[in-house]
Structures are given as structure tokens and as C-alpha cells.
Amino acid sequence: MTNYTRISLASLALAASLAFTGGLAADEEEEFLDANSLFEDEAKDLSIVDPLRPINKAIFNFNDFVYLKALKPVSKGYQAIMPDQAEKSVGNFFNNLKYPSRLVGNLMLVKLKQATQETGKFLVDTTIGIGGLLKPSKDIDGLNPPKEDIGQGLASWGLGHGFYVVLPFSGPTSLRDGIGNFGDSYVEPIPEPWSQVDESAVRLGLQGLEIINDSPTLLEAYEALKESAIDPYEAMKDAYLQRRNAQTDQ
């Protein structure tokens, strides 16, 4: 037996005995959770480098002003005049048009079954659902796959977030997801650069309508987060990271 093997076995034996003792102790102590042991959960917390923090914070404050002083009054007016069903139909319409980015996301993730389901959903909603205004697919089993996008596809290829970025108007993202969003805009029919809508005024109008239609729910979530936060900037960053990681872990 070489010295190395002996040391290894001794270490193993020591480790085994410690593990056994530990097991006993754990069994005895396992009756209750120690509140201090929850501090160990800190190790599982997500983080992202934020080298642009001063700029990001300035844009975050700018967005906050835009959301609450400009978008919110418009959103309230829109809600006051639009019936719920019309709001829902407008949301369905724009959501249906995002089919290409969901399809590409699925293909990048090699989720072929989900890609097929997305295609089925698009066909059903575009035809029976009158151009996507209605969403008959929601009642059909197998036509409600989880939403994927190009950012999730990039994540599945092993690309990390890179660093944190706050974009004017649209808010938090990361380098990877920003590239993903850029890719999404290439395959979707309304945004530039390959927009299927030639008239720029119509295109901007549609994009504005989509933002305003989504704004009630988004603004409510934003305000809830901001009002209950100790540090709204950090709260938003962590919420973004947790949401994206949950999506990519699906």
C-alpha cells in the first residue's frame, strides 16, 4: 500500500466517521430549523456584475419619471375608455405577432415539440382567433407551451448574462438578453430593421399602442415593487435576474 493510498483511506475513514457523527447530530438537531441557518441561503443568491451602475441608475431614474409622469396618465386614460375585452384582444393580437421569436427561441433550445406547439397555436389563433384578436388556443391541450425567446436560446448555449444594463424606456436587461432582444426584433414583423409595416407612422403607432396596452399591468407591478422596496434599483435588478433565471431553468 503506497503512502498516498494509505492517506487517502485514512482520510476516507475520517470523513466517513465525521459524516456519521454529523448524521447523528443532524438527526438530533433536524427536529428544528435554526433561524441563523437561513443565512446560508445567501450563498444561493444570484448576482450580476454592474460596471455601468452610475449610468444605469441615471437611466433607471429617467425611466421612473417617464413611467410615472408620462406613461401612467396615458395608461389611466386608455384604461378609462377601453373596455376590458378590447384591451385583452389588443394584447392577444400583439402577443400572437411575437410567434417568430418564440419559434426561434424554441429551435435554439432544440425544443422541437414546443416549436410545433407554438406553430399550432399561431395557426389556430390567427385563423379561428380572427388575426390573433381572440385566443382559442388557450382551451386546447398541448397548445400552451412555455414562452421562449432568443435570450433564453443564447443562455442554453452557455452564454452568461455578461453585465447588467438598464435601457431607456424598456428598463432592465443584461448584455446577453439585450442581444436576444435585438434578435427578437429582427424576426418579429413590426419592429425595425425588417419590419413588415412600411409606413413609419403606422409602425410607431402600433408600437405605442402595444406599450400603452401592456402598461396597466406592468406599471402596477413596477409601482408595487418600487413602493415596497428599500432600494428600488437593487430590487428591480434582482427581480429581473430571478425572473430570467427561472425562465432559462425551465
Partner: protein, 198 residues
């Protein structure tokens, strides 16, 4: 017309866990469900039965009876908690609870009562459980999961996952940034200022 009251759905669920009726019960999941229902009942009383101030007062009274934000706040603050005096801990717990209650009771007018559909409880270990709950209002559905632990004082909620995002981890990221450059006095100042705004 309001499509969704996302804020009230989530915060109702959060504040519900402050009711510590999970203590000492044989079935922590059933006790937690009862506690949540109790708070949601108060929250969604009609305007004719109770105005916003009355609801806020009723919730705070219920919470004073048996209070259990302690573990969540301790876990959210993280290790700096160990350096706080008992008086500082108490003040921060009271102020944080007040921030949460005030945040969500500020816009309860005309809110409809959501439906709560609980999933099957998952036993993660002898001392940890998780209880999924889908909160639904109209077409909007928010998926929550309560993390419940068995502490020497009894069963208590130590985290809530909102659409797989940990509420405690979110606060921990905020407190971590705060304590990197500032102390507990500044935190108390911040909470006092926040409460004055709400």
C-alpha cells in the same frame, strides 16, 4: 377599467404570512391556508363594510395578536442582523411590516376577491415544507410558493416565491447593498422616510 390587480394579489399573500397561526398546529399547511384566508377576507371586504383605513387597522390588529415576520426579515437582512441590538431589531421589524401593510392597503378600493387554489404540499425535509398556491383574478394568475420551516417556536413561513422569484432573496439583495456602505441608523432613517411617503 382595470384588467389586473397584480399588486394586491401578491401583497395580500405576503402580508398573510405575518399571521402566525401556523404556530403549534399539527398541520402547518392547513393552518397557513386558514391564516391566508383570514387576511384575504379582511382585504376584500366591500367598501360598504370597511374603508381602506379600517381594513388597514384590522389587519394590523390581527398581526399584533401573533406576529411572525421575524424570520423573514432576519433572513432578508442576512448576517448584519447578528450585529443589531434587540431594540434595533424590534424597530426594524415593526417598520418593515408597516411598509408592507401600507404599500398594499393604499389601493384596495374596488378590488375583487381573488381565488386561491392550493397545490399539494411538498415535504422537502423533516423541517422544511413548501406549499404552492395559484392566486387567480379574472384571466390573471400568479403562482406563489410558501416555504415553511419548523423552528423552535413552531412552524413559520420563511420565504415566499412569487413566480419562482424569492421575495426574501430580493430584499436581501437590497439590504446587502445598503449595509455595504451604510449602517442601521441610515436604514431606520430610510424606513421612517418611506413610511411618511406611503
Amino acid at each position: 377599467m382595470t384588467l389586473a390587480k397584480l399588486k394586491t394579489l401578491i401583497l395580500a399573500a405576503i402580508v398573510a404570512v405575518a399571521i402566525n397561526s401556523v404556530h403549534g398546529g399539527d398541520d402547518p399547511a392547513e393552518d397557513l391556508k386558514a391564516a391566508i384566508d383570514k387576511v384575504v377576507d379582511i382585504l376584500y371586504l366591500s367598501e360598504a363594510d370597511a374603508d381602506v383605513d379600517t381594513k388597514r387597522e384590522q389587519i394590523l390588529n390581527v398581526m399584533k395578536e401573533d406576529f411572525s415576520f421575524d424570520i423573514m426579515i432576519q433572513s432578508a437582512i442576512g448576517r448584519p442582523w447578528l450585529d443589531l441590538t434587540p431594540e434595533q431589531r424590534e424597530r426594524i421589524k415593526v417598520m418593515m411590516t408597516d411598509v408592507l401593510v401600507r404599500t398594499f392597503t393604499s389601493r384596495l378600493k374596488d378590488s375583487k376577491r381573488p381565488t386561491l387554489n392550493y397545490g399539494e404540499i411538498k415535504r422537502l425535509s423533516k423541517t422544511r415544507l413548501s406549499l404552492p398556491c395559484a392566486v387567480k383574478l379574472g384571466d390573471l394568475e400568479v403562482n406563489l410558493s410558501y416555504s415553511i420551516g419548523k423552528f423552535p417556536t413552531g412552524w413559520a413561513v420563511y420565504d415566499i416565491l412569487v413566480e419562482n422569484g424569492s421575495l426574501v432573496a430580493n430584499y436581501r439583495s437590497q439590504f446587502k447593498t445598503h449595509f455595504r456602505t451604510k449602517g442601521v441608523d441610515e436604514l431606520e432613517e430610510l424606513l421612517t422616510k418611506k413610511l411618511a411617503e406611503l
